[in-house]
């Protein structure tokens, strides 16, 4: 099977990126400076990420908000214009079908979904959203500019971009290119995601890379940044067998949709999810800091001193900002308290790890209000 290429493929090759397959696309994993340098640059300056493999969809229709509420346990009826929510599609067992961003752009809900699940999500939406139209924005690509200097950089192209609040979105014209820009991201840093027309992607990406603060960063650094920020990766940290409560993203379930809320329940798996919110789940996502230099990868077992298995690692890597190996995983709630020391089986030896608060690195989101 041949891989799809991003509209920025030429830039990646010009920059000497190491390309690798990712959900059917050939994407940059790192550039010549490699993951740690790209990670550190993102935490101190600004990095440009190509995330054009992600799905972008618009949902238009008078009943779009209430129809989305039938699929997602979040409040869309009261989602203000230019605001956005992080949320997830759930199945009848309360499992997560995908996590996504839904923004209110006035005439439409603008949705960003994972690359690996976008076809399935589109089909799911088209089947279940009868009264609204569902259109894929395949004419647009997604870029992310992340880091403490991102706002300053984008303000050179359009001063009002710097006034956006975290998790808000608006339309802007940059270098005569119409863009949909949100203040959001997947790094824990202040930053933006830019949806821009395919035909302008190369030009705008090069204009951003020409700014002195901006360097390119690949999917490797994106993964280490998101893990330090405690952000879950769909397909790795959560899937159809984990609920939003177990995954620790129960905050995506709006008050209005919970027990006693104005529009209580009414989403797939509501019985399971609402019961877990009330009584607690059987497993819980935690962060762990390893007392070793070895790394815990996905699937590594978490055990008690006597070897009894109490959980499993879902993501783990060397965290460049923390400067230590970190991991996230599921563990039985009775062992999930911060400060608990557990054992992680790495190859043939047991190493100890401490349950720590997520995120590992403090979020630097910019909120005005």
């Amino acid at each position: 099977m041949s891989l799809l290429v991003s509209p920025l493929h030429k830039i990646h090759l010009d920059l000497g990126a190491k390309m690798g397959p990712f959900t059917g696309y050939s994407m940059p994993i790192w550039y010549p400076e490699k993951i740690i340098a790209e990670h550190n640059h993102t935490r101190t300056q600004a990095s440009l990420f190509d995330i054009s493999h992600m799905g972008q969809v618009s949902i238009v229709g008078a009943d779009a908000a209430s129809t989305l509420e039938e699929l997602i346990p979040t409040d869309f009826v009261n989602l203000s214009y230019k605001k956005m929510h992080y949320c997830c599609f759930t199945n009848n067992q309360g499992g997560i079908l995908d996590d996504l961003i839904v923004a209110n752009l006035g005439v439409e809900f603008f949705v960003v979904m994972n690359a690996a699940s976008k076809e399935q999500d589109l089909e799911y939406l088209r089947k279940n959203v009868a009264t609204a139209s569902v259109e894929e924005h395949s004419e647009n690509v997604l870029l992310a500019l992340q880091g403490p200097k991102a706002a300053e950089v984008l303000a050179r192209f359009h001063p009002e971009i710097a006034d956006l609040d975290f998790m808000t979105i608006d339309k802007f014209v940059l270098n005569r290119i119409p863009c949909i820009i949100s203040r959001s991201g997947y790094t824990g840093e202040d930053g933006f995601e830019l949806s821009i027309p395919v035909q302008n992607a190369d030009q705008l990406a090069r204009a951003l890379l020409a700014q002195p603060e901006v360097k390119p960063a690949g999917l490797g650094a994106r993964d280490s940044l998101r893990l330090e920020a405690g952000l879950r990766l769909y397909g790795q940290d959560m899937d159809t067998t984990t609920t939003p409560v177990e995954a620790g993203i129960h905050w995506t379930i709006s008050r209005a949709r919970r027990i006693g809320g104005e529009r209580e329940g009414g989403f797939p798996g509501a019985d399971v999810i609402l019961q877990q919110i009330a009584n607690g789940p059987k497993k819980r996502m935690v962060g762990m800091r390893l007392h070793t230099k070895a790394l815990a990868r996905k699937g590594t077992k978490i055990c008690l001193d006597d070897g009894i298995e109490i959980g499993v690692v879902t993501s783990g890597l060397f965290a460049p900002t923390v400067k230590a190996p970190i991991a996230m995983g599921y563990i039985e709630p009775s062992h999930a308290n911060v400060g608990t020391v557990v054992n992680i089986q790495i190859r043939n030896s047991m190493v100890s790890a401490e349950i720590v608060r997520l995120p590992f690195v403090k979020h630097q989101y910019r909120t005005i209000t």
């Binding site: 994993i29 993951i35 740690i36 490797g220 070895a294 790394l295 890597l317 060397f318």
Partner: protein, 126 residues
């Protein structure tokens, strides 16, 4: 000049004295792995057959194993890699050596790829 041989798994083996070799990974291998953050070295006195695992190499993104290109006994390990695994990225064929082995079947060395054969092999991959 010391003799050096390579494997298709991107390891190198260099003769340092009679029946004693140093083992490491090639520049191509370190490029593929990216930033190396941890190396688990073998115990001294471990005896291995060719293609037994002798070390684990962890980069930010992935783990890889080093399989011994030859049979023998580990007689020395590069302890500097425990605190400075990045030496393998910076200088994979000199400072970034992994361990020294005393060969138990010296004839295995001659069956490995020479410099030209390895270069040709790497070129065929790119």
């Amino acid at each position: 000049m010391s003799e050096i041989r390579y494997t298709q798994d991107h390891e190198w083996v260099r003769v340092v004295s009679e029946d004693i070799v140093e083992v490491g990974i090639t520049d191509f291998a370190q490029e593929q792995l990216g930033d190396i953050v941890f190396i688990e070295l073998p115990e001294v006195d471990l005896s291995v057959d060719a293609s037994d695992e002798i070390a684990v190499i962890e980069s930010v993104k992935a783990a890889a194993e080093l399989r011994s290109p030859v049979s023998g006994t580990v007689i020395e390990i590069n302890e500097e890699l425990e605190d400075q695994p990045e030496l393998v990225n910076e200088n994979p064929t000199e400072d970034g050596w992994f361990c020294k082995l005393e060969l138990s079947s010296p004839e295995e060395f001659d069956d490995l790829l020479n410099e030209d054969e390895y270069s040709e092999y790497v070129a065929s991959l790119e």
